[in-house]
């Protein structure tokens, strides 16, 4: 069969469909979004009745996936790295119970923070939960790992964490697909209660089982074809460990073959046997990993005595940011030659809110009203409207994590900040803002919450938002007073109306919610074209 051109994300999606997937549960987040989108647009997935609706957040997604696995079916859940923080409670505990139908969790990490607020490395979570982690070095491996992963997950009885980084997620290459497998029937385990009711007495047993399982996971890593040891004939003092995509950058610098002993690692726990073989063939080790120095730290140990280990911790590679063929080349002591430099005349071109975007109108009106107050603070959130931080708006004071606008505004107001304003989008509100709003209502916090509703999940490219058309009903249900729950269409012609509304609700000493609602200009344009 002819190879197909797939993004890493798409290779994962296609592999899951081919391996008998029954459902995917996700929340959009760069660089993971395209996995679920691919399944949503796949004719084959539709034909096979694969569930693929977006969830409210990563926690609800992982739990729903867990439910499908409980029923015996193969299931996928995809998120960006910070999304796993949201899902961590479910994640840590389903690693304890184990699963039934094959379950793969995809974490798409974003070293260099191309579209994220941090560059956490979620292999750490794999270690923490003590489950196997797979880290593909290319799109074909990503496909194969997912295709084989469901079976492995079922064989082990544990979920698998597949960790990719931005460059793997968003790079295309030819991928060879494999035969379509049937979906699993519903089949619940006979002793399911002894596994899934994590009362302390049962949890203690499950933890013992997980601990015993570690030897099997290690054995699998040592036998895995994804972990490969290369020992050249000529002895070289420097051995190299290359994890995931780092292996490509290493290969790029040795087009004629490796001159050093090399261990490629794409399956964890770390293959001890091969690491020992590597150290027998060298005096020092260089660790290449696209993310935190997790393997480096493990090999080095806290005291750093014994074998010399180089990498991000000793400055051989930069401590922050993604790997590139160039910083790997430098770490290998090879020259990086670049005949041209960026001319001084080249100006930065940061992203900006689109022309015609409703968030623009909201910020213009808000900025103008806030000028009337002495020390206003605007706590914003994660989404397109975070771009309100940049000129010409410079309208916000914070952006931390999904939902933190509302809760921070509450805390700040209770500390005495006035006006204390929150700005949050509709999708972020349903992801993690609703509980914070309830806290505000319960404490009668003096806050103005602006839910800037564009009826979509905008920043990630316009995915369905969980409560389109129901934002105000949710606010009413949570207990926002009807008189202080107001809506407006954010357009130039409504500026004066918006300004009056903002002023009145700032001056109301309690919880106010304003919902400026106008469809995202990008999804609107797309509909016009279709």
């Amino acid at each position: 069969m002819k190879k197909q051109l797939f993004l890493g994300d798409e290779a994962i999606a296609q592999a899951a469909i081919d391996a008998g997937l029954s459902g995917v549960y996700s929340y959009p987040g760069t660089p993971s979004t395209e996995i679920t989108e691919f399944i949503q647009h796949s004719a084959l997935a539709k034909e096979r009745g694969i569930y693929s609706q977006w969830c409210s957040n990563e926690k609800t997604a992982v739990e729903a996936a867990f439910g499908m696995s409980y029923a015996g079916k193969r299931v996928l859940s995809c998120m960006k790295h910070v999304g796993l923080n949201v899902a961590a409670d479910a994640f840590m505990n389903l690693a304890l119970t184990g699963i039934n139908g094959g379950m793969i969790l995809v974490t798409a990490d974003d070293p260099s923070m191309h579209s994220s607020q941090n560059e956490q490395d979620n292999r750490f979570y794999g270690n923490f939960a003590m489950i196997p982690v797979f880290e593909p070095s290319n799109q074909q491996e990503a496909y194969d790992m997912v295709y084989e992963g469901f079976e492995l997950s079922e064989k082990w009885g544990y979920p698998i964490l597949l960790r990719i980084t931005t460059r793997m997620a968003h790079s295309r290459a030819g991928v060879q697909t494999r035969p379509l497998q049937a979906q699993n029937p519903v089949k619940i385990e006979a002793e399911a209660r002894q596994k899934y009711i994590l009362l302390p007495a049962i949890a203690r047993k499950r933890f013992q089982i997980l601990l015993q399982k570690q030897a099997e996971f290690l054995d699998a890593s040592e036998k895995s074809t994804y972990n490969q040891l290369f020992i050249p004939e000529k002895r070289s003092p420097l051995g190299i460990v290359a994890c995931g995509i780092a292996f490509n950058y290493l290969q790029e610098n040795f087009p004629a073959g490796f001159e050093n002993p090399v261990l490629k690692i794409s399956q964890y726990p770390l293959p001890k046997k091969q690491l020992l073989q590597l150290t027998e063939n060298c005096e020092e080790i260089l660790v290449l990993e696209d993310g935190y120095p997790i393997v480096e730290e493990q090999l080095k140990g806290y005291l750093g005595v014994g074998l010399k280990v180089h990498g991000r911790l000793d400055g051989t590679l930069p401590r922050a940011g993604e790997l590139t063929p160039d910083n790997v080349r430098k770490a290998l002591g090879l020259p990086v030659v670049s005949p041209y430099i960026i001319p001084d005349v080249v100006a930065m071109r940061p992203p900006a809110l689109c022309m015609g975007c409703g968030h623009r109108d909201v910020y213009l009106a808000l900025n103008e009203v806030l000028q009337e107050y002495k020390d206003p603070r605007v706590f914003a959130d994660i989404g397109c409207y975070t771009l309100g931080a940049l000129p010409p708006f410079q309208a916000i004071d914070s952006c931390i994590d999904m939902g933190a606008s509302i809760t921070m505004a509450r805390g700040a107001s209770e500390a005495g900040v006035f006006p204390s304003v929150a700005v949050i989008g509709d999708s972020t509100f349903t992801h993690s803002g609703m509980t914070g709003l309830l806290d505000c209502v319960n404490s009668r916090a003096n806050v103005l919450i602006i839910i800037s509703d564009n009826e979509t999940t905008g920043m990630t490219g316009g995915q369905d938002s969980a409560a389109t058309g129901r934002i105000e009903a949710i606010c009413r249900g949570i207990g926002v007073e009807p008189g202080h729950l107001r809506s407006v269409v954010p357009l130039k012609k409504n500026y004066e109306e918006m300004k009056v509304m903002i002023r009145e609700e700032i001056d109301y000493p309690g919880v106010s919610v304003i919902v400026p609602c106008r469809e995202c200009i990008q999804t609107y344009k797309r509909k016009l074209k279709a």
């Binding site: 191309h114 579209s115 968003h170 041209y340 005349v345 930065m348 071109r349 920043m459």
Partner: protein, 187 residues
């Protein structure tokens, strides 16, 4: 055969479409390829780039190493300059001539032209105008691809097939318009 190409522009200009056409052509020609794209935040009017690597041997890195791109294809004159550190000494730049000015501190065009004066191998064209004149105003990216085609290292027919397969679902009229755009400057 091995060609490393940087595609540059501003989010929304259509560089990913050019990348997809070249990708299809490369795969049809039996080449190995990797193509790294930028999705996400930068697509909101920020600078975007794609690293496209085509070779008759397997490609290792998804990213092009510094100083080794054969070609920079850019839909915006300042954006091409941003990726100069990737260009080989004797590499080519094929760029649209007119600025996309969505920032407050866009440099004077004189200064940008002066930078181009110093570069040995460049093709600077107003592809927007050419596309308009062709009656295909939305295909300026494809006109640019045509202008870059001699430096890509793939047979022109494969690029034509690439156009066909990428625009197929939009109907025969769109395919023909884009083929016309591709051929406009293909020398």
């Amino acid at each position: 055969m091995k060609t490393d190409i940087i595609l540059a522009g501003v989010g929304g200009q259509g560089i990913l479409t050019i990348a997809a056409v070249i990708g299809e052509a490369a795969l049809a020609e039996g080449c190995y390829m990797k193509q790294a794209e930028v999705h996400g935040m930068s697509q909101r009017g920020g600078d975007v780039q794609s690293h496209l690597r085509i070779s008759d041997r397997p490609v290792a890195s998804d990213l092009i190493p510094l100083g080794s791109a054969d070609l920079i294809v850019s839909l915006e004159p300042m954006e091409a300059l941003r990726y100069l550190p990737y260009l080989k000494k004797d590499g080519w730049i094929v760029t649209h001539s007119e600025p996309f000015d969505n920032i407050s501190n866009y440099p004077e065009m004189e200064k940008i032209r002066a930078e181009y004066e110093r570069l040995p191998n460049k093709v600077i064209l107003n592809v927007e105008q050419i596309a308009k004149d062709l009656g295909a105003p939305r295909s300026s990216n494809v006109v640019l691809l045509g202008a870059a085609s001699p430096y890509i290292g793939l047979p022109f027919e494969q690029l034509e097939k690439g156009i066909r397969s990428i625009f197929e679902r939009k109907g025969e009229e769109v395919v023909e318009l884009n083929l016309k755009a591709l051929r406009a400057l293909s020398a």
